[in-house]
Subunit: 399 residues, 4 copies
Amino acid sequence: MSETNGAPKKGVLERLRDGVVVGDGGFVFALEKRGYVKAGPWTPEATVEHPEAVRQLHREFVRAGADVCQTFTFYASDDKLDNRGNQANKTHTGAKINQAACDLAKEVANEGGCLVAGGISQTPTYLSGKGKEAVQAEFRKQIKIFIANNIDFLLAEYYEHVEEVEWAIEVLKETGKPVAANMCIGPEGDMHGVSAGECAVRMARAGADIVGINCHFDPFVCLEGMRKMKAALDKADLHPYLMVQPLAFMTPDASKQGFIDLPEFPFALEPRICSRWEIMKFAREAYEIGIRYIGGCCGFEPYHIRAVSEELSKERGGFLPEGSQKHDQWGLGLRLHTKPWVRARARREYWENLKPASGRPFSSSCSKPDNWGVTAGHDMLKQKTDATTEDEIKQLAAK
Amino acid sequence: MSETNGAPKKGVLERLRDGVVVGDGGFVFALEKRGYVKAGPWTPEATVEHPEAVRQLHREFVRAGADVCQTFTFYASDDKLDNRGNQANKTHTGAKINQAACDLAKEVANEGGCLVAGGISQTPTYLSGKGKEAVQAEFRKQIKIFIANNIDFLLAEYYEHVEEVEWAIEVLKETGKPVAANMCIGPEGDMHGVSAGECAVRMARAGADIVGINCHFDPFVCLEGMRKMKAALDKADLHPYLMVQPLAFMTPDASKQGFIDLPEFPFALEPRICSRWEIMKFAREAYEIGIRYIGGCCGFEPYHIRAVSEELSKERGGFLPEGSQKHDQWGLGLRLHTKPWVRARARREYWENLKPASGRPFSSSCSKPDNWGVTAGHDMLKQKTDATTEDEIKQLAAK
Amino acid sequence: MSETNGAPKKGVLERLRDGVVVGDGGFVFALEKRGYVKAGPWTPEATVEHPEAVRQLHREFVRAGADVCQTFTFYASDDKLDNRGNQANKTHTGAKINQAACDLAKEVANEGGCLVAGGISQTPTYLSGKGKEAVQAEFRKQIKIFIANNIDFLLAEYYEHVEEVEWAIEVLKETGKPVAANMCIGPEGDMHGVSAGECAVRMARAGADIVGINCHFDPFVCLEGMRKMKAALDKADLHPYLMVQPLAFMTPDASKQGFIDLPEFPFALEPRICSRWEIMKFAREAYEIGIRYIGGCCGFEPYHIRAVSEELSKERGGFLPEGSQKHDQWGLGLRLHTKPWVRARARREYWENLKPASGRPFSSSCSKPDNWGVTAGHDMLKQKTDATTEDEIKQLAAK
Amino acid sequence: MSETNGAPKKGVLERLRDGVVVGDGGFVFALEKRGYVKAGPWTPEATVEHPEAVRQLHREFVRAGADVCQTFTFYASDDKLDNRGNQANKTHTGAKINQAACDLAKEVANEGGCLVAGGISQTPTYLSGKGKEAVQAEFRKQIKIFIANNIDFLLAEYYEHVEEVEWAIEVLKETGKPVAANMCIGPEGDMHGVSAGECAVRMARAGADIVGINCHFDPFVCLEGMRKMKAALDKADLHPYLMVQPLAFMTPDASKQGFIDLPEFPFALEPRICSRWEIMKFAREAYEIGIRYIGGCCGFEPYHIRAVSEELSKERGGFLPEGSQKHDQWGLGLRLHTKPWVRARARREYWENLKPASGRPFSSSCSKPDNWGVTAGHDMLKQKTDATTEDEIKQLAAK
């Protein structure tokens, strides 16, 4: 177990037993906006190419009150690093990218007494229908590095198919580390028609200590899914810890596959970004459901994590994170504003009740999601080393 | 003059004469979200307290293609640092804060061949009606430090009253450096009823080499103001360079005083954040009007500045910034995406025509601005060292 | 049986067996806007006070292609005519009001070869918890008049509780006339928690020949409810004819009790009014589900009924109603418009795909419904002869 | 002069001098929805074909408090009746249509002590550029009938070009009757670039006793235009009575040519329909500007006119129209409603402050108007007897 200042760090399961664990936020969207990650392949090689940028973002989440630094290893399996024209595996190797991610997460976690979580996610190998052995082989390559770095616990996240996450949990359990497992599903369940409740039960039965949902849906839709998971787990008399790390984008109009299907994904999601007040509401509701690991995924910036920390300050023994030194709660910092009508906004009921306008009179409030009804095994989803051609795009656009 | 690799840097006026200068983005909003700045006083002491965070943001803007690093000295005049309960002047002194800002801007600018601009902005002293001498004394304290650091040019920005910016320009001109001057006004002109055109003429007559608008309004509303400025300057046969650094928040519903009056300011502006495509459209329109200094203010994140750089790449001799290595233009990076319907979005016409939904069916598209019709000299706007009390907030809230 | 031109009219069940029956539209909202009916008590005494206005509306629906004239006897039970300050029973007597309604419906139906349906609806007596006998006594008073006038069939509509509609059907069946029964419920079922499917099964088992939904929800939400009804009926091997008469107001945001709970009810529903194109889409979907009696309720104006008739023209043997002489389908009449860009709208794909803007930038697209969770038997719902006092309104407003 | 009960009716100018004149509402849109008028040519031959429907609508407006019955003679000039495939002139003759309109307006006006106004409007002859003599010849044919019927005053309305309305006024003045003149323009002025203020001055100088705006824009945009008219008239020391008859559709997004350019015109304007509360606000503002003739145009249903009457009841000596017997002011009729939360809406502040939702999450709040920038004289606007062909529509659609 990692140590800070000589004293052994309390593990994730003990922390969950005793209180709330605040997760960190999303790396790929934040680093894309900062200029270090490419949307589409969501290039995890930033850990090698620009460690200072990844380190700074880790620090900001820790300042915001996160208890965990997740290694920035999303989509960093070798098969993904080689997919559709990406060449990161050739240039850097997956091993080097994953090692750099461990270095950065550990460095910052150690500064702040945080835990390090090593994360794996769904693979093109699974979507291409190559079977259990091939898929687990991909997972093992990343996990080997996590174990060599003695990270604190393991996380399988962003799985659309319960079968694949079961395979992942199986491999993660071999390590003896605590295992968390999250699917990127909504209340309707996984891509193969397995209900959200059944997914939770299967993850718990596969051995996950912590079970939940991440990404793909907004905070409140994710909580709807979590309620279904909890009900099914309770019914099955299974009691893993519950975890949720939603988008910080409002997606009431997303269908089964979430925000990826929305026409705004990924380059025009701005009007959907959650305010800090919406995140505080989410944190409170999540806690009331009984969820104890509460963090964020794509769209969660440091101030969103700070909002979680502030909302659950009492539940965390009065703890306020460093970042709150620059954030008087409920807008009280506005008491220092020049304009008197802005000073009048320095109060909780103002922000709690505001329905923020979009400033976009030519936009609608909801979109019809794209959804071509293709899922694992379908030809269009198969792994492919070559880049997509212009002709292929034209054909897709004409659909 | 600063130097890079032995060769003298080309000055701002020469760059404007020969092509386009891309400005950087907004520091206070970006650093508030990252946890280093408090909304309300917009605490510039971050330069002293967290230089690594300020440095990182400078770097991101340079990677995004900015030609200029503005010192992070907004609201860093001594009078402001002491206003309404803020104590930064006591803790750090304005001098130290301004010096640290120069150090950080110069460090990063030198890495990237960029210019350093020393910025001053409107003062509580002016709003409190203390007269020209007192106001100019505030300006001189900041300017002294800029000159000691031999920054490349000076910028007076965020002025609501043309009178105050004239006083600022007068002081800046004493230094012999090139002078840029921006007011935070819209097409309706300044707070005392001076038209936008007249404001431009007065700034030019006061000696500003570069004249324009920053903050308070969205890109397209700012350009409306710029069109009025240009028309009035042309009519007066005055030909300063034109500059614009708008918000990256859509504000079609703001009235004379801009986004500050909108109920969402400053903690629920998310749905108004501009997409990169909106910023590209802005950059093109700005260039076509004849504006040659194009940057951003509050809300402009690094990817917004990158959008300006990409849109004007041809005009800058084919130059694409470092940050564009992680950004295929017009969404082409989506050709690597797993889902075929997302690959279908890898084309210009898709993003150019999208009207992004808000995901907020309970929000309207526009807000009625607050606006209490008080301006410079009014009692409620006067400088005040003490913090606002809870009773005062209650009285304001009841208005 | 009534006759037209000597030949006996084909009955409603035969018409349904052989094809489509188009119902008429809503009287209370249309006549309120024309100045003859008061919102709240929805005063059916208009049949006595202004027969020319009721007759004209009947005629417009027949011109629009309706096969049925419903007697304007909604809320014309004696107990309702005496409720909460209404005095119509004293002034006119329920008997006279119902007789006048029969006269008007028969007069116009005979002009156009239409059927007359005698309609009853839910009673304050039921909401006040006065029991089966008292409720059925109310029904019998209206039915007696329908039978004396030998109307063609009977319709129990606008029931929120399946128990009350069962009592109604029982009484209607005593007459030997064909019986239609409609509840004003959505996909969530009745106010006592009985599912939509179960409601349909119970109405069919009680003896209704025609079963369905009217009022309270928009066309597409009603069809969702109808799909559930059909599935449950099929499963129970019950095969009554299906009928739907929805609102012509869009209510995606309504909860269990429908549009009454929406803040806009009843005086600010304008932005929710369906276009003719939305109604055509509804008529097509309803037909495809297998519904054969398709009409409208509140908000349905004559042009909405014409839209149903035009959409189902082929299914009705090529029949186009008289009103279509003044309505070229799919906007083709615009070929005669002066402005060329309006002539460009003279085509189906234009209107079919248009998402009409609200012209209301300060309005949201959805509302949070009021819903106090009180239902039959609750004190606040009890019948009360006296008018509500100002104090009572103040107390309600403060909730 | 017509008489009621033996006493001579007070003329329109005397009524305006002494108080407020309430106009009637729009016939073409209301009768289109009722099934008697075709959108596009807006077939005025309804007066001959279905007098009972036109008479009923007249009666409803009188019940709603209208002081004037306008003859339903919009677009009833011979040249319009023959335009683009319309054949009404051949079938019925313009003379017969206009005579029937006079009969109906007089019949109902006499029942209610109202005035009859004979109305003419812009002509295809003018748009085709055929010159003053030809245009005035068209006007004279209609006016001749009005005079033969001794109507009370004359109204030239719905003119887009001030030149044409001047020609109209010239002809109307020959009759010796009081003359009202309205243009269908907004604050930007007429189609040839003449400002709204200048248009008003020219109408007054041409001899109009009553000057104003009708149609094309929403109530509040029309009032903006009226403010400009009043300012210019005051400046020119001209003092005609002021008149306004706006749309009952919200059009904040319409450009110079008004609602015709909006994509929703004319078959999907429903979400833009004004509520009664918006009309009351309009009536109050109109009165405060000094406008004394206040009515409505397209979209104004009887209940909208009733709202004008109720709002100005005090100014009309406490008069409430017959239709108000079925309309307790400010929603007070809801005190009789069954549901307690609907009874809670029985108060003024509730309705006055409600921003009604659209129920349309896939619609935006504003539209970009079509506007091809063609005006009088342009080939595409020329009169044409033949119907538009399908090919011509295809060509227009492709623009």
